[in-house]
Amino acid sequence: MSTPALEAVDVTRTYRMEGVDVTALHGVSLRIDEGEFVAILGPSGSGKSTLMHLLGCLDRPTTGVLRIGGRDVAGLSDAALAELRNARVGFVFQSFHLLARTSARDNVALPLVYRGASRKERHRRAADALAAVGLAHRLAHRPGQLSGGEQQRVAIARALVGDPGVVLADEPTGNLDTRTGHDVMDLLERLNRDRGVAIVLVTHEPDIAERARRRVHLRDGRMESDERDDPPERGER
């Protein structure tokens, strides 16, 4: 069996808020293989955002082991974690998080800046990524000149530009109408299928979650269920 793209083993995360310890995750174990398409579901406060932040190396578990591409993040410096994030993970946010004064191309190229890629290479790869999400003709547009669906596609191109193993999408359709939301889901599905990039989707919309091949339910910081569609389909790709 191949190395999992992401693996959490008995992970807890406790925050200290105004002197009181609040545990957001109680011993969650989750393994996500390369090329998977997973939805994480749960009501607000269930710990899905916390899990997402841990999987994306934005945060560290209080206890438990977290491996990104087989590498244990415990003991990594902040800088090493940032590099790991840059290389292995792509993020898509509910509110797009695009730089307003920056062209689509430069927004997409941003992760490559922190890799020290040359301007020329950044431009080339950003143009490729934009073409992959069907926005080859929107290179020079700023976010304000694009529709919501287009902005989210720019953000997806940005998540892909560095060739990560996993894209973490936090409510990617939350700010879009149903139709556009499904277009974005079509795009994510296609990228998952064509590029083999694992997609982890956090959502509370059941019909969006239905489109994933695996659904993980969280409640009160614990994993409630982990269901997969058609087990034989795994590895078919």
Partner: protein
Amino acid sequence: MRFAESFRVALDALRVNRLRSVLTMFGVVVGVAAVVVLVAIGTGARDLVRSEIEGLGSNIVFVAPGEFTLGSAPTISRMTLDDVTYLGRVTGDEDAIAVALNSGETVRAGRAETFAGIVGANQNLRNVFDRPLRRGRYLSEADVETRRRVVVLGSDVARRLFGDADPVGRQISVAGGTRFRVVGVLAEVGQTFGQTRDGEVHVPVTTAQRMFGVDRVDYLAIRAPTKDAVPRLQAEVVDALERKYRGERFSAITQTQLLGTIGTVLGALTGVLAAIAAISLLVGGVGVSNIMLVGVRERTREIGLRKALGARQRDVLAQFLMEAVLLTTLGGTAGIALGTGAALAIAELSPVPAAVTWWSPALAFAVSAAVGVFFGVVPARRAGRLDPVIALRAE
């Protein structure tokens, strides 16, 4: 992140808040301009003093009562004309010793009148100070011995009283009565310490003493035969005078020492002025710090995003530090231009001396960059340390 990239990002950030950036820079502009102008004036003053003292003639030792410190109250001299003879025996060359008793009086010729510096001098003063004559003759030994009422005019005084006419042989009155006959006119020499030496009139020291009712002289000026002879001459003269006037102190200083002392004082003064100006630079720096903190807060989400995309703490720190340094160096460059322009204008249009040196703009630039680093580091570190999870959620 590469240097060029952070530079571009920083420039972009400044451009977005153009008005705010310009206003923030303004504090630095004023501070740097003030430093440049005040240093220019201080340097100009020092240059001026140096050239004037050097113009006094070479190898001259000034002998005056008291310890020589600049700014101390003048000591009333107990030296008299006899000391010329006395010191002449010590040094072996009485002709190289000049005396001066100074005052200022109104002088008149017919209806023309002007204020003049009265120098009671002996016949040696002209040679000691190297003052060429334009007309007539200088004071003679006989003039001094017999207290003649003769006068040698500075070129300005001659022009003011007599216009283009030859004053030799004419009469002037000094201090509202005493009449003097003009025997000569000095050639033009220019200014010393902002006073024109061409506004002097020289009369025999004995005549001046009687006119003012004193028998002292203010100071002696002795020309040493060579530069190497100066130190020994100084020691001999002071020693001889302190032996004669028991319990009193005398100083014998050269123009080099005078230059050194005045230079030190002016240097300190320049330093103080620059320090006062630097306070405004400090205030400008605090303004930069403040605005950077606002910028970090406003861009918290952007910082969170950059971190999520792989920016390390030091990438974010470098970006904001670059922005602060760019603010202060742009302000500093404008300040240097403004300050240099102002200094040149002052030098050109006012009597205040101002000299722009090559190092003061260079230093000002370095200082403004340092101000950027110093005042940018706190906001930049705050930006760098932001927790990406929290920063991403910021509104």
